[in-house]
């Protein structure tokens, strides 16, 4: 690399000079949303260091500490900053660990949906014919139903196929699987549309001419050129995936009480709404709402920033 005379500007320099960064700096709301999102990510990442208690470890829970109000209440006790739930779980710790589960399921769910959708979209667009028709018909049928209904169905059916009592890790995988299966359609349609445009370009013809097999052309040459819109969909879908996980857990079809996500915490708290223990439902609810709102705002901004036509 020492031989090149004019060194091209580095990635950071180019990023700082870009339109996307400029539009980011212009919008205070977007910056606030990014700060909140980053805060949540860090909190989830370092949950083990921040939280006073490991809420997944039954040995650390004392029933004598159950249903304590937040610390600013006269009956509040240290170290339970935001109070405790019915099992003596510290709410702050439960929220931090629950955040971790919610974000993990959200990310993995979106990744699975994107992988599935991109693969099917690539194949449908590139191969065409009957394959295309079958894949897109399935997509059409699925689009008639709301994602939450599909997720609930997949969740129920998968659990009945696996059968018996499931441990928390399996349930987490089932959740990722259901969310992936309910959100792939949008990726598949977008990728297919872009592939139909790309596959008639010269570089694809050249790749075909030198005898590259179709899977290689799809993965190495077409795929990088259709990924832009996918990124935007993925950001917007992250918020949706987190809501879907929370809803499934709230409905009692998601994470168990022993390893609660935000939705599970809200479901538990909902039982104590009438007995005056408002903090058990309020804090997880606020955390979830803030997280989703921040990611939504980021997604909206990213869509506008990456798509000059919408400006």
């Amino acid at each position: 690399m020492a031989t090149t005379a004019a060194k091209p500007p580095g990635f950071l320099a180019r990023a700082l000079d870009s339109d996307v960064w400029a539009s980011f700096k212009r919008s205070k709301l977007t910056m606030a949303a990014a700060a909140v999102t980053a805060l949540f990510f860090l909190a989830a990442l370092f949950a083990g260091l921040i939280s006073p208690q490991n809420p997944f470890d039954p040995a650390q829970l004392e029933l004598i500490n159950s249903r304590l109000p937040p610390i600013w209440d006269s009956e509040g006790q240290r170290p339970f900053l935001l109070g405790t739930d019915d099992q003596g779980r510290d709410m702050l710790s439960a929220i931090l660990y629950g955040l971790r589960i919610s974000l993990l399921v959200g990310f993995l769910g979106v990744a699975f949906a994107a992988a599935l959708g991109i693969t099917l979209g690539l194949v449908a667009g590139y191969v065409g014919g009957v394959t295309d028709a079958v894949i897109m018909r399935i997509a059409d049928v699925q689009l008639t139903f709301p994602a939450i209904l599909i997720a609930l169905l997949v969740d129920g059916v998968t659990k009945s196929v696996l059968g018996g009592a499931l441990d928390a890790t399996t349930i987490l995988s089932v959740l990722v699987f259901s969310i992936g299966l309910s959100f792939w359609v949008q990726y598949a349609r977008t990728v297919r549309g872009s592939v139909l445009v790309e596959k008639n370009k010269d570089y694809v013809a050249a790749a075909r001419l030198i005898g590259l097999p179709a899977p290689v052309i799809m993965a190495r040459h077409v795929l990088p050129n259709v990924l832009g819109p996918v990124l935007v969909i993925a950001t917007i879908n992250l918020a949706l995936a987190i809501i879907t996980e929370a809803t499934l857990s709230f409905l009692g079809a998601g994470m168990p009480d022993t390893m609660p996500s935000m939705g599970t915490l809200i479901r538990i708290g909902n039982n104590y709404l009438f007995s005056g223990e408002w903090w058990i439902v309020a804090f997880p609810g606020i955390a979830l709402a803030l997280l989703v709102l921040a990611i939504n705002l980021l997604g909206d901004w990213l869509r506008d920033a990456l798509n000059p036509r919408l400006r």
């Binding site: 059916v157 929370a246 709102l293």
Partner: protein
């Protein structure tokens, strides 16, 4: 026109068929139906007899056709948890869900249109900005959180409205309605708002965008030039022309509202089909899940078909393009 309707109807049947295959596959292959019906210590011979009486030893295609024929006659099998015909269970709960969905849609239409028109006509006013903020929250907040918040406000703190159930219901034939009693109406308020909030924001945004678009058009300028009153222009000309897409969307969304009622019904313990479905998922009651899926598919497909046909009836421009053979 007739060819168009027939083609759309065939497409609808295709969707129903696909969903039917999925429902049958769930019914047949997700878990052994015999195990759900007999107890653990039932002898093998008896199990075999149950299996034969359910027709589970027939070839799969035969079972599939039988499932279809029975489903078409309204027989969806016996629920594992309730030991009652699924069709009867669903039918008992259908009025609750339909009343809730229709009230939510009416709420969404009325408030969505009013708020949309206002924020289009007074774009810079404070209230319009408030409406925009509300719509952002309505789209971001999960439905169940909105429900819990409302229960906390109006049931726990103020004690104004009931937090669960339908209140008193009156039976009109097989239909049980909550619309004829005061407590029924009170019970309906919070679930309807919770369920309709998302549609309301959708309609508000749509009306606002459409109104802004229409207000720029030539015929509005012409109406101004004719010296018509502002009120007549806004409501007689502009709003009237925005309503066709709005009502279409509201109609198409009715299916989604019925499906989304799952969440609202769980929060408010509303005794509808959605609550039945959630309980079925929790208890792996496959016959109910399969039947609910088929029923929702039928509702969706019917609504889409009706809207498609109405659209061509309402808008003659679409009809002329249809006449030409494609």
């Amino acid at each position: 026109m007739l060819a168009f309707i027939i083609r759309r109807a065939l497409q609808a049947l295709g969707v129903l068929f696909t969903v039917g295959v999925i429902a049958f596959a769930m019914f047949r292959f997700a878990g052994d139906p015999v195990n759900q019906i007999v107890s653990i210590d039932t002898p093998a011979a008896e199990r075999e007899q149950v299996r034969r009486s359910l027709g589970l030893d027939d070839p799969v295609p035969v079972q599939f056709v039988r499932y279809f024929v029975r489903a078409a006659q309204g027989d969806f099998g016996i629920s594992y948890q309730f030991r009652q015909p699924v069709a009867q269970l669903l039918l008992d709960r259908m009025p609750a869900t339909l009343e809730l969905a229709i009230c939510a849609t009416i709420f969404a239409l009325v408030f969505g249109i009013v708020m949309g028109v206002y924020s289009a006509l007074r774009r810079e006013s404070v209230l319009a900005k408030v409406f925009q903020a509300v719509s952002l929250i309505g789209i971001s907040l999960p439905t169940f959180l909105i429900g819990i918040l409302m229960i906390y406000l109006f049931s726990v703190s103020l004690g104004l409205l009931p937090s669960y159930g339908r209140g008193e219901t009156v039976r009109l034939g097989w239909w049980s309605t909550g619309l004829l009693t005061w407590s029924g109406w009170k019970a309906l308020i919070m679930p309807s708002i919770t369920l309709g909030l998302f549609q309301m924001t959708l309609i508000m945004r749509l009306v606002r965008a459409e109104m802004l678009e229409v207000m720029r058009s030539e015929y509005i300028r012409f109406a101004r030039a004719r010296g018509l009153k502002t009120r007549a222009i806004h409501f007689g000309h502009a709003l009237k022309n925005t309503l066709v897409p709005v009502i279409t969307i509201a109609g198409l969304q009715l299916g989604a509202v019925i499906a989304f009622a799952i969440i609202t019904e769980t929060v408010f313990q509303w005794p509808g089909m959605g609550l039945l479905f959630v309980q079925a998922v929790q208890n792996v009651d496959i016959p109910i899940m399969a039947a609910y899926l088929l029923l929702v598919a039928l509702i969706f497909v019917t609504i889409n078909l009706v809207v498609d046909i109405l659209y061509t009836v309402v808008d003659p421009r679409l009809r002329s393009t249809l006449r030409q053979p494609v």
